[in-house]
């Protein structure tokens, strides 16, 4: 932590004739030509890959039992999406993800606060949490299924526990990295504990907690879809696994495509949100 970083040298502020100060011009990251070119190349690669896949599958270079042509996947997708079954699967998966993420958030943030607030708790619990990070929790899934039954419960439990870890850890780290001067400021104006949390700690930590929250959401998605794939009665992951076991490659890929689209969508929303939140930091 650097103290007294209100740097003077790199902060040019010019003074006009009348002593009027002029702020340094605000430079916000604009879509520069380099970035635009990178995006163009990225899309070209994507389209190229699809074309190569199409060619490879059509010529028989890749066996039909492994992969069907992307055009066929798209056709399957178009016929699957309007069905009631797909709607039910999508609703089930999305609700499970959202519930798991909400549980991760509601438990993870207070846990992070406790780890920060009580350093002893941090020292004692951190190894457990880090182990939770490294451990494939999905191994507990069969046991949970036996205990809780074949419903969304075990999936939510596993996905939530995966989601909770990065949220709790980044919350702790974010609170630890708040400039000491802000604590002193809150103290000097005699802020009450709730004012201290709501008006200082929470907003100060938010931009730093966000990457953890984002990761938590991604883990909720991975946890949910993976558990559904292993064993479930409903859901997009279940359906992909079902067609996999049925050797119905086209439909399996159609459901995989749905997961890919969902992931990209979720990630875009989170990135957009993050940018909005970080804008204040400049």
């Amino acid at each position: 932590m650097v103290a007294g970083q209100s740097g003077s040298g790199e902060d040019p502020w010019t003074r006009g004739a009348a002593g009027v100060t002029v702020a340094k011009t605000l430079t916000r990251s604009q879509p520069d030509p380099l970035r635009r070119r990178a995006a163009a190349v990225r899309w070209a690669i994507l389209v190229g890959l699809v074309v190569v896949l199409e060619a490879a599958t059509r010529t028989g270079l890749v066996d039909r039992t492994l992969m069907v042509p992307p055009s066929e996947i798209l056709a399957r997708l178009i016929s699957i999406v309007p069905t009631g079954q797909f709607g039910a699967d999508a609703v089930r998966t999305i609700t499970t993800i959202l519930v798991a993420f909400a549980v991760g958030l509601v438990l993870g943030i207070p846990l992070g606060v406790v780890l920060w607030r009580i350093p002893a708790a941090g020292r004692i619990l951190e190894p457990f949490i880090v182990t939770g990070y490294a451990m494939p929790t999905l191994l507990f899934y069969p046991v949970l299924l036996a205990v809780m039954g074949l419903n969304a419960g075990p999936i939510i439990l596993i996905a939530a526990s995966m989601s909770l870890v990065p949220i709790a850890l980044t919350t702790m780290v974010a609170l630890n990295s708040i400039k000491p001067i802000l604590h002193k400021l809150a103290n000097s104006v005699n802020a009450s504990p709730s004012q201290y949390y709501v008006k200082v700690l929470l907003p100060a930590a938010t931009p730093l907690v966000f990457p953890g929250v984002k990761l938590g959401f991604i883990y909720a998605v991975i946890g949910t879809v993976a558990m559904e794939f292993i064993l479930a009665a409903q859901g997009i992951g279940f359906r992909a696994g079902f067609y996999y076991r049925e050797l119905n490659t086209a439909d399996m890929w159609a459901y995989i495509a749905v997961v890919v689209v969902l992931s990209v969508l979720v990630n875009s929303i989170l990135t957009w949100l993050e940018k909005r939140i970080r804008r204040d930091m400049l």
């Binding site: 007294g4 209100s6 902060d11 702020a23 001067i181 400021l185 005699n190 008006k199 100060a204 930091m281």
Partner: protein, 275 residues
């Protein structure tokens, strides 16, 4: 705002009073006495600066007036009441950037009032007045990230001033700024202070700044520090730009320098090269 002239107040109950205060910190290496037996008072409407060698406990003294630290010996009182916690009528400005990066300049300046429970309309009105005074009117809706270091410090000053404190505590507020900015903001501070005339306790390393701003300069000794000498700054107010060139200004500066030099040598060792 009271427009009272500078009158030497003798009534102790209207002062900020240090009564034989001392501060001893317990560290792993044992007890360190930072401040020893400081006695003195800041009368109403007075601007008092404290100068002294690094680590002489200047900030410690200020934190004790602000209620952030409890002296281990003696007591600090404001208007006859002992300071035990941060008071509603004191406000602090720190050396480091203490602006809240997620708030606009307006909401930063209104922060102290917000914590005190002043309703939104009123606190915005009072904050706007202060923003106007520190010359940041066009930047009301800007975020601190869009401001220079000097402007952020003016936000911090405005935040403290908006609380209309009876005692303003400033801990090297211009310490992180370049010389030009520092002089300019110093003049601005004085211009604003002429209107409010609240008591100010100002910590600085800069002798010229101390002479220019203050009614009294307290020179502190090296650790364990005591107030070695109180130098009255008898320059007339208001102090226009040419003040620095007055012969009396030079005299006071030289006198203070000679006092500080002795203490600095104690800290750094005899014969230390002092710029």
């Amino acid at each position: 705002m009271n427009q009272m002239p500078t009158m030497p107040s003798t009534k102790q109950e209207h002062d900020v009073v240090f009564e034989n205060i001392g501060m001893t910190f317990q560290t792993a290496a044992g007890a360190t006495q930072a401040v020893a037996n400081v006695t003195g008072s800041i009368p109403e409407h007075k601007f008092v600066s404290i100068i002294g060698p690094s680590g002489c406990g200047k900030s410690t003294l200020l934190d004790m007036v602000g209620g952030l630290l409890k002296p281990t010996q003696g007591s600090v009182s404001i208007d006859g009441e002992a300071v035990t916690a941060p008071r509603r009528d004191t406000a602090m400005v720190f050396q480091e950037d203490s602006t809240l990066h997620w708030r606009s300049v307006l909401d930063n300046v209104a922060f102290g009032l917000e914590v005190k429970g002043v309703p939104k309309d009123e606190r915005h009105e009072r904050a706007r007045k202060m923003i106007e005074l520190v010359g940041l009117r066009q930047f009301e809706d800007h975020r601190p990230g869009q401001l220079s270091g000097g402007m952020k410090q003016r936000v911090a000053i405005a935040r403290a001033m908006a609380m209309e404190p009876r005692v303003l505590l400033m801990d090297e507020p211009f310490g992180a700024l370049d010389q030009q900015t520092r002089q300019f903001i110093g003049r601005e501070l004085l211009r604003i202070w002429e209107k409010t005339r609240n008591r100010v306790l100002f910590i600085t390393h800069d002798i010229q700044e101390a002479v220019y701003l203050s009614d009294e300069v307290w020179v502190m000794s090296a650790r364990p520090s005591v107030v070695k000498e109180v130098v009255k700054i008898d320059l007339p107010r208001p102090r226009p730009e040419g003040t620095h060139a007055l012969p009396r200004f030079r005299e006071l500066e030289d006198h203070l320098w000679s006092l500080v030099k002795v203490e600095a040598e104690k800290t750094l060792g005899p014969g230390a090269q002092l710029a």
